[in-house]
């Protein structure tokens, strides 16, 4: 048989192709897209991925809705109109509603982003990172995973009953089809899992340098807050201790006056954790609900301070930040009521997920609930009262448990209302002096039973996750 030169070349080529076919495929990475192989490979790309986790804080569920939803549910603020606002007040949400779906979806997208960072960064060798940065990045991601799960706990779980089976659906692995079907945890396990993440962040997180990223101190502060929400056994006492630790060693600093906090906003060292509003969003603040500006520039009614009725409007903080002012939106004819606490003309409205003042409130309540002397409790409250120009509380004013708890409760509302849902947990945790039931009943007449405190699980989850159980129907 005769072999021409070409034939030989082709045969060699064919043999080469057969032998090297695996290498043919390895080059087929997407040209312009990041994949598991090339996304998180070193410290710089780990930091970029970590920013991706934080980026979800720019979604409206962590912005305007974050500060307003539960104030409305509490019955302390009324929203002027809209089906969603109405269903919040009625404490009856539709399982297929956009806002319910969005909360669930964005929280889990954030958790999945965090799980990816935790998973891929952990696989990289330590030598690719400066000092402790690898552990810090994982700690920040775990803090954000806890933040996401706490957000879900607040809306979708029976957080008020540690023995309830209706806990959070906890996700701790990067999304994969193998874990698609997953059951929710019991409430006790949910708390433990979130605390485990926060403990890791307390242990390994970075020191505080900016409020836009998590720090050790932020993890401690959120843990203290979570212990107050759980409220079992030593939780109150431990929360008080943790709050003191944040005050002493968190790296944060109380502003001299209450108004300073809102004058300095993000630059205040009192702010423990906040979200960064991208410049592209706040340039279009009037059209973006994410900026909060538009939301409070007209949507919250100035008659909203139902809770101010009981004399709270005499508090100095009311006139300093809560009283409505008229803002000329487009012309003098289009004046809108705005809430100076959260409204900023340039659109970069602050959303404080946590600030140091709350540690004093947690400490005060934690002490009060774990049997500390009244003097110690009111001293913590007076720190905040002094700096806001209010008269100090005296022991005589708080000589019964009812009076003391009412004082704490009022202090929480005046200091941190419409910031991070403290009012919601407060009206659920505190007892009504009238009925002895939840204080919520005093403000929101629609509240009848505890099943109304949790949102229904979104329809899409029940349809696509066969192991997920819905919350009991109202």
């Amino acid at each position: 048989m005769k072999y021409s030169f070409m034939k030989i070349v082709i045969i060699i080529l064919a043999v080469y192709l057969c032998c090297s076919c695996d290498s043919l495929f390895e080059n087929e990475l997407p040209k312009h897209d990041l994949t598991a192989e090339n996304a998180i490979v070193d410290e710089a790309s780990s930091e970029t991925a970590l920013l991706g986790v934080y980026s979800f804080l720019g979604e409206r569920v962590f912005d305007s809705y974050y500060i307003a939803d539960n104030a409305v549910r509490s019955g302390l603020v009324s929203w002027t109109s809209g089906t969603y606002a109405e269903s919040l007040t009625l404490l009856r949400l539709a399982a297929d509603g956009l806002e319910v779906r969005d909360k669930w979806s964005y929280a889990y997208q954030m958790i999945n982003a965090a799980n990816n960072v935790i998973y891929y960064v952990d696989k990289l060798s330590d030598s690719k990172f400066r000092d402790n940065r690898k552990k810090e990045i994982i700690a920040e991601a775990r803090f954000m995973r806890a933040f996401g799960h706490m957000f879900l706990l607040k809306y979708f779980a029976y957080f008020w009953d540690v023995n309830s089976p209706y806990g959070v659906l906890i996700r701790t692995e990067p999304a994969s089809l193998a874990v698609n079907a997953k059951a929710r945890m019991s409430m006790r396990d949910s708390y433990n899992q979130i605390i485990e993440d926060l403990d890791y962040a307390i242990e390994n997180g970075p020191d505080y340098t900016t409020c836009f990223q998590a720090s050790k101190g932020a993890a401690m502060a959120f843990k203290a807050n979570l212990l107050m929400i759980r409220g079992e056994g030593e939780d109150y006492a431990n929360a008080a201790k943790l709050a003191q630790e944040v005050i002493d060693h968190g790296g944060f600093q109380l502003e001299e006056t209450f108004t300073d906090v809102f004058a300095k906003d993000y630059n205040s060292k009192e702010v423990i954790f906040s979200r960064f509003l991208s410049s592209t969003v706040y340039k279009q603040a009037d059209n973006k609900s994410e900026s909060v500006k538009r939301m409070f520039g007209g949507i919250i009614d100035y008659t909203a301070y139902i809770y101010m009725g009981s004399g709270l409007n005499k508090d100095e903080r009311f006139s300093q930040t809560l009283q409505n002012i008229l803002y000329e939106a487009a012309s003098k004819d289009q004046k809108q009521w705005v809430w100076s606490k959260i409204w900023r003309e340039d659109g970069n409205c602050p959303v404080f997920y946590m600030r140091l003042a709350q540690m004093y409130l947690i400490k005060a309540e934690g002490l009060a609930r774990s049997g500390a002397p009244v003097k110690d409790v009111i001293e913590e409250l007076n720190v905040l009262r002094r700096r806001s120009g209010n008269t100090e509380l005296t022991e005589a004013e708080c000589d019964t448990e009812d009076k003391l708890m009412t004082a704490i409760y009022k202090e929480i509302l005046c200091e941190v209302c419409c910031e991070n849902d403290s009012e919601w947990f407060t009206v659920i945790r505190f007892k009504s002096t009238k009925s002895g039931g939840r204080k919520l009943a005093d403000f929101n007449i629609n509240y009848q039973d505890d099943a109304m405190l949790a949102f229904p699980i979104p329809m899409g989850e029940l349809q696509n996750n066969p192991n997920m159980e819905d919350n009991p129907k109202i």
């Binding site: 087929e28 997208q109 410049s279």
Partner: protein, 580 residues
């Protein structure tokens, strides 16, 4: 021995330009003063293919033998980019992309895939009587994860030409008798280029770039393979094969069927993932026959007929994905282990509530819940569809997860289907008619529920059956009454299911060739044919919806739902063919 190699390279460059003038609705952004908008799209696709085959053929007396070995390597890539600008100086001349004042739009994509296969095929036959074919191929695709990249697909076929045997040779009544049997595996890779990869997308935070997960990785993604057994008998009877036909049976088992899967929202990924889902088994019988009843020079009459029956069965359902399939992607059909595809799943109905007494009787059954409604505000009244309470607890449970009142309502798979054809020619005239039929299948008419629902958000024109609706003056109607935002019409029920058996005359074609003698008189025309044809001639069916033949591209939904809005068009063609 023959060696053949071929390399081909295709380069395809497409440019699209979509200019909307300022006088149009879109170009003016809804008449808000925008001065035109332009989007330019560039798409480049490349395909490089290398194919080499080595073939060998040998004949030794009655043994005929040939073999082919080969390999192919295919690389495809595609890149697309769209840019848009708004506000142009004018609509006619100064409309270059760079002349738009404001940037408006960008989009793009880039993908590439490699496919590599090698194969060997052997053919052997002995004296034109016994045939054997054997082949094996190995395919690899970059669309699958490393461990599942390769699929091996062998096939064997045997045939026996019985009519070629001595004992049947020269029998004028038997012109063809052949038995064929085959077995084989085939692979399917209907999956996106990067369907198995975990992917990320860019975003920003702190005014710095950031990225977040976009697509779930699936290392288990692999070839969908179909194992197929065939047995067939070809026959030709009478002189000049006046009767020909084939009788065949087959068994097809598809395993690891590729299907888009909707992940639970709690996975934190909002795009679907491709998964290997269930196994589907299809078996069936096919028969076709053609007869030339009249076979003269002037008159011919041909009749053709085919009929087939297919039975499908899901055999290897992964339980884990079951509920998502039944409730989300396909809310009307259920996929059940061991059952056929295309089962309808929903509520049973029992006509229309004709009187208040009837409503009251049902409402009295359960003290805590309304008879059919989600909340106590959902009131039932005469003229509403009456749902059936299968669980016997005195209410129809419409809760999302509840299956207590749902049941299998029927199947969209026909008992049998087929076609007929008729061809007559006489003296230059020829007439052909083709028809098809299907028997025993049900279909959901998607639009029917909307006929009794007044929507404030998406109002639409209604069909005449809306006039036959229930009204106090027409209390015996089989259709429900009209309601605003009628919730009851959103629960899938057998009310919208219909027997979709049909016989359809698909087309009719009449042709006349003017005799050559006449035509040639013109001196310059060689032949002249005049034809008339109709498509979609007539359908005999009791199905009330627009299209009894509707079929969805979704492999599992298949023929279940008729989404058509308009009836099928009927076309008439008149033509002449002249050759010079």
């Amino acid at each position: 021995m023959n060696l053949r190699a071929m390399f081909s390279y295709n380069y395809d460059d497409e440019k699209g330009r979509d200019y909307k003038p300022s006088t149009t609705y879109n170009g003016s952004a809804g008449y808000t003063g925008q001065k035109g908008s332009l989007i330019e799209t560039t798409t480049t696709s490349q395909k490089k293919e290398l194919e080499a085959t080595l073939s060998y053929a040998k004949a030794l007396k009655k043994h005929m033998f040939d073999a082919v070995a080969g390999l192919t390597y295919t690389h495809r890539s595609r890149e697309s980019c769209s840019i848009g600008f708004n506000d142009f100086p004018d609509d006619k001349i100064q409309t270059g992309l760079w002349q738009g004042a404001n940037f408006a739009y960008k989009n793009g994509s880039s993908s590439a895939a490699v496919m590599f296969s090698y194969f060997l095929r052997l053919n052997y036959n002995y004296g034109g009587k016994y045939y054997f074919t054997g082949s094996v191929r190995r395919d690899a695709s970059s669309s699958f994860a490393r461990n599942n990249r390769y699929g091996t697909f062998p096939a064997v076929a045997l045939a026996w030409n019985i009519a070629g045997e001595n004992f049947l040779k020269d029998k004028s009544w038997l012109t063809l008798l052949k038995i064929r049997a085959s077995w084989g595996l085939t692979g399917m890779a209907s999956v996106g280029e990067y369907g198995w990869r975990a992917m990320f997308r860019s975003t920003e935070y702190l005014d710095k770039p950031a990225f977040i997960p976009r697509q779930i990785g699936n290392d288990d993604l692999k070839w969908e393979s179909t194992e197929q057994y065939n047995l067939a008998l070809d026959f030709g009877l009478l002189k000049r094969s006046r009767i020909t036909g084939t009788l065949g049976i087959y068994l097809k088992k598809s395993t690891d069927v590729l299907y888009p899967f909707t992940p639970a929202p709690s996975l934190g990924i909002t795009t679907n993932a491709t998964v290997n889902l269930a196994s589907i088994e299809n078996k069936g019988i096919e028969f076709n026959m053609n007869t030339r009843i009249l076979d003269g020079k002037k008159v011919r009459l041909e009749l053709g007929f085919n009929i087939s029956k297919n039975i499908s069965k899901i055999t290897n359902l992964d339980r884990e994905f079951r509920s998502s399939l039944t409730t989300s992607t396909l809310s009307n059909t259920v996929i059940q282990e061991g059952k056929t595809l295309g089962l309808f799943y929903g509520y049973k109905t029992d006509g229309i509530f004709q009187s208040q007494e009837e409503v009251d009787r049902c409402e009295a059954l359960n003290g805590d819940y309304p008879y059919q409604g989600v909340s106590k505000y959902d009131k039932t009244s005469p003229g509403d569809i009456k749902f059936v309470d299968l669980s016997g607890d005195g209410r129809v449970n419409f809760d999302y997860q509840s299956d207590e009142d749902k049941t299998v309502l029927g199947s969209s798979v026909p008992d049998f289907s087929g076609g007929v054809s008729l061809r007559v020619s006489w003296n230059g005239f020829s007439l052909s008619v083709q028809g098809s039929f299907s028997y025993g299948n049900m279909k959901s008419w998607d639009g029917e529920g909307k006929q009794f629902n007044m929507s404030w958000s998406t109002p639409a024109n209604l069909l005449d059956i809306a006039l036959k609706r229930w009204t106090p003056e027409n209390p015996t109607s089989k259709y429900p009454k009209m309601k605003i935002e009628n919730k009851l019409s959103s629960y899938f029920s057998d009310f919208y299911l219909h027997d979709a058996s049909y016989f359809k005359i698909q087309n009719l074609n009449l042709n006349y060739s003017i005799p050559t003698k006449i035509v040639e008189k013109t001196g310059f025309i060689k032949s002249l044919d005049i034809s008339f044809s109709v498509n979609n001639v007539y359908t005999f069916t009791s199905y009330p919806g627009p299209n009894p033949e509707s079929f969805s591209s979704n492999r599992i939904a298949g023929a279940a739902v008729d989404n058509s809005v308009y009836p099928m068009t009927r076309t008439f063609n008149v033509g002449a063919r002249i050759s010079f």
